[in-house]
Symmetry: C2
Subunit: 239 residues, 2 copies
Amino acid sequence: MNMKNKYLVIYNDLVQMIQQGEFMAGDTLPSEHDLSQQFSTSRETIRKSLNLLSQNGYIQKVRGKGSVVLDQNKFEFPVSGLTSFKELSDQLGQNFKTHVHEVFVETADNRLRSRLNCERNVKIWKVSRSREINGERVILDKDYIREDIVPNLTKSIAEASIYEYIENELGLDISFAKKEIVVEQVTEEDQKYLDVEEHSQVVVIRSYVYLADATLFQFTESRHRPDKFQFVDFARRTK
Amino acid sequence: MNMKNKYLVIYNDLVQMIQQGEFMAGDTLPSEHDLSQQFSTSRETIRKSLNLLSQNGYIQKVRGKGSVVLDQNKFEFPVSGLTSFKELSDQLGQNFKTHVHEVFVETADNRLRSRLNCERNVKIWKVSRSREINGERVILDKDYIREDIVPNLTKSIAEASIYEYIENELGLDISFAKKEIVVEQVTEEDQKYLDVEEHSQVVVIRSYVYLADATLFQFTESRHRPDKFQFVDFARRTK
DNA sequence: TAGTGGTCTAGACCACCGT
DNA sequence: CGGTGGTCTAGACCACTAA
């Protein structure tokens, strides 16, 4: 994993220990003071690691008591957050396949310009792919990507992983997304590229994806057959 | 707001300034060094405030450049996170109404015991409510709450806000939830308590809700008519 | 009362961005 | 190069929990 940042190394160590059952749900971790001695670091650095664990749902910190380890097996299928289809399929198994329908550049129309928040004459990649899981095409992904930021796209990149290409080949840093989930009627396009079966509706996730320097570079519409859709979320209450 | 924690005061100040347009999308905030002088505090405390802004989607920090203010109006209807129906209706307007169908205590059956992770003989409140928006009943909420933690519940509490009662009257601290969103077929119960119209499916949000001391005290099934369902999410990529 | 996490400080060094 | 945010330290004091 990451070998540069001490707090990330410690975080990954602790995640691994929790996942391997060295700490069970309900246990408390060693105190911050103890951990800072075990890892030969300052308490603030330990706190940074523990806050990461807390944000990601591994522990709950309780004042005066300690850091309580939470249940890990409540959810099996993590589809939350910002994860590419490739990463998901790598995590979960081999029965995934991607069909690329379209990869081409076009000048953005009004609707797309407002969604991608960009000027007239900016060119946009349009990519259309369907995702097959266990022999059924259940997800239709329509990506719109700014051509001035991602100059080259090919069918083979779209077949592998666009995110991998953007991060590893172009060296760009995908950072965060704003998402919207709604239910919509099936379109003709859905019927063409998905095995919609008897369903008349699809679950649509619209994502606005940003780079680390805060530029909006991609808008994605991901259309899921409702019986194959699941989304999980870990939410902390803000006071 | 909070008058005790310096970093929360600063966070709230900055949120207000952003919402009032003192900083526009694309602007950079003053540097951490400047802010620490303006607010007469240390840089680490300013960083704590800025990290909160970043987590909540107000800014994006860019190394070597500054903290860039993000677009605020991309989403109108925040249904993400841990927000009670009462809080939502207070935020958004007056056309909300709650109908309470059932409020009673029962011994938990196997299924519920495993969901609430509790022993035999533990008693559970069962509350069933439908939510009316603009004259249509579009959400059915089924709550299961541990009776040993919340000993008294009444119809009038369920009509107002159970969360408000738990936090303000009982002094308990609702802290975080694990959620799952799926699409399911309409049940007879849905047809009885919702205006399902022609819809044959509902969007179901199942939440496992925890207190600040990490005890699981509530399980909720929230069933939404699909045309009135919207969920928004702000996700940061974890590396 | 002893031990826990929560806040805050003043300073150090580093990595990155723009000029 | 100067300015920015990112990491890390060693210490202080406080609020809370449990024995």
